[in-house]
């Protein structure tokens, strides 16, 4: 198993760096496909964006922590923020994209995307912030 840790200031300028580091680290897994790497890059961008926004709302100067763990069967990424805690149960679903009313909402695609693209997606809110854990399975089919 290998583990990569990263800490970044909670600023949007660091998003591209996060995508680059995490996708480079995950790309060291010889079994991960380019499509799954794209999925992970996008999901990490979404979760880190949410973390940065959580820090902005909480006016927190703390850093955001990320880890990327690789083993023989998985790539697991965790993003930890120090915001006020995000409750996924309070998400208000938007109309489907085929509904003209959907054009009223520019936001709200990120969490459904993460859920759809990742094999596992967990949100763990607490009083100290939120941890998002995302996993993709990389083991080749037998």
């Amino acid at each position: 198993m290998s583990n990569i840790e990263l800490r970044i200031p909670a600023r949007v300028e660091y998003l591209a760096l996060v995508r680059s580091v995490i996708s480079t680290a995950a790309g060291m897994d010889p079994h991960i496909t380019p499509e799954r790497l794209d999925d992970l890059r996008l999901a990490v961008s979404e979760a880190t964006t949410n973390a940065i926004e959580a820090h902005a709302r909480a006016e927190s100067e703390a850093q955001i922590g990320l880890s990327c763990q690789l083993d023989e069967e998985h790539v697991a990424v965790e993003i930890r923020d120090r915001g006020t805690g995000f409750d996924p149960g309070k998400l208000v679903p938007h109309p489907p994209v085929t509904d003209p009313e959907r054009l009223e909402f520019e936001r709200g695609l990120g969490i459904p995307l993460m859920r759809r693209l990742m094999d596992e997606h967990e949100i763990h809110p607490s009083a100290d912030g939120t941890a998002v854990r995302m996993v993709i399975y990389t083991a080749p089919a037998t």
């Binding site: 949007v12 300028e13 660091y14 591209a16 994209v97 085929t98 936001r107 990120g110």
Partner: protein, 116 residues
């Protein structure tokens, strides 16, 4: 952060905005500003060429949704250009946005299609 760059041109009744770079929460607002300025200048038909956009996340998609709304509100047309073998197109399919946007594989196709 790498700022996106834009190049603007015209082809008959269509204006074309070519975007280079990545569209996320750091950069997509610049595209929103461009689109608002273009709509405000009276342009009714815009092709947004995303061929050279390397990455789009949900914030970027949100800006595109907002752009589509602006054009439809003004009885205008917005068409997108992107490689349909790319991860960006796969993102459109995953989110269902492929069903509400007119997407073409080349600017030439976008400006010459008279089907709508």
């Amino acid at each position: 952060m790498i700022q996106p760059s834009f190049s603007y041109s015209e082809d008959g009744a269509w204006s074309i905005l070519r975007v280079h770079g990545e569209l996320d929460i750091a950069t997509a607002p610049l595209l929103r500003q461009r689109v608002i300025a273009i709509v405000s200048s009276g342009v009714m038909r815009l092709v947004l060429d995303l061929t050279d956009v390397d990455f789009i996340d949900s914030t970027g998609l949100g800006v595109l949704i907002g752009a589509l709304k602006r054009f439809r509100t003004n009885d205008g047309q917005l068409r997108l250009v992107m490689d349909k073998e790319s991860s960006r197109w796969r993102l459109f399919e995953t989110t269902g946005l492929d069903t509400i946007f007119e997407v073409y594989e080349s600017v030439e196709d976008a400006v010459t299609d008279t089907s709508s």
